[in-house]
């Protein structure tokens, strides 16, 4: 019975879209996807696959992606600000 209830709850997870508010905090949803991209890309590209090297490379790529996304956002914000003036 408990298992059935758990399965039902699990199924409900996939039936309704999650309510994501339109606040600046919603931008944080870009972080998991950046991490996924960094993980898969480095899993393919790295030659010496040791945990320490892999972790370092993934963190480096993740930070690079996030910093460049922030820079692009700043440039776009600047353009929008200039267009409004």
């Amino acid at each position: 019975m408990m298992v059935m209830m758990d399965m039902h709850l699990l199924a409900q997870l996939f039936r309704q879209p999650m309510d994501v508010p339109t606040t600046p905090l919603a931008l944080l949803w870009s972080l998991p996807i950046c991490l996924s991209i960094a993980l898969v890309y480095k899993a393919i590209k790295i030659r010496n696959f040791s945990p320490a090297v892999f972790t370092r490379e993934v963190v480096l790529l993740f930070v690079t992606i996030v910093v460049f996304l922030a820079l692009v956002a700043l440039v776009l914000l600047g353009i929008a600000y200039l267009a409004q003036r």
């Binding site: 996939f14 879209p17 309510d19 996924s36 898969v40 899993a43 030659r47």
Partner: protein
Amino acid sequence: MRSYLFLGVRLMAQRQYNKQEKKPAYLLVLLAWLIPGAGHWYLGLCARGVVICVTICVTFFLGMVLGSMEIIDPQYAKGWFLAQVLGGLPALMGAALQDKAEPITAIYGRGVDLGQVYTGVAGLLNMLCIIDVLGRISPAIDSSDAD
């Protein structure tokens, strides 16, 4: 004379070894497409395979939680569907689990948008892995990486 004989035997042994180790490309592509990371696993790169499998599956299912199963929608979101299908088994499972009794309707919202991006990117990452597997079995490319 002796060194030529030795070289000949070595070449024959190498050829025999290459014949045994040669994996059929179609099987690798099918494996790598259906189960993300399985192509790398099959090539003996187990750690890479596990990382790829876990990352792509988690990204895909997170996308389905964000946007519900309706985001796998060949009718209203053809472009996203093409990217999602590259994800292999998770995408096929999602498509199969949709409630076929209810007609598919267009759904909107930021959760749906995010879900489509997550599942689409997961599929495209899997395509990258398939290309990498093909590159590794190609004799023109040095594939001496090891886990």
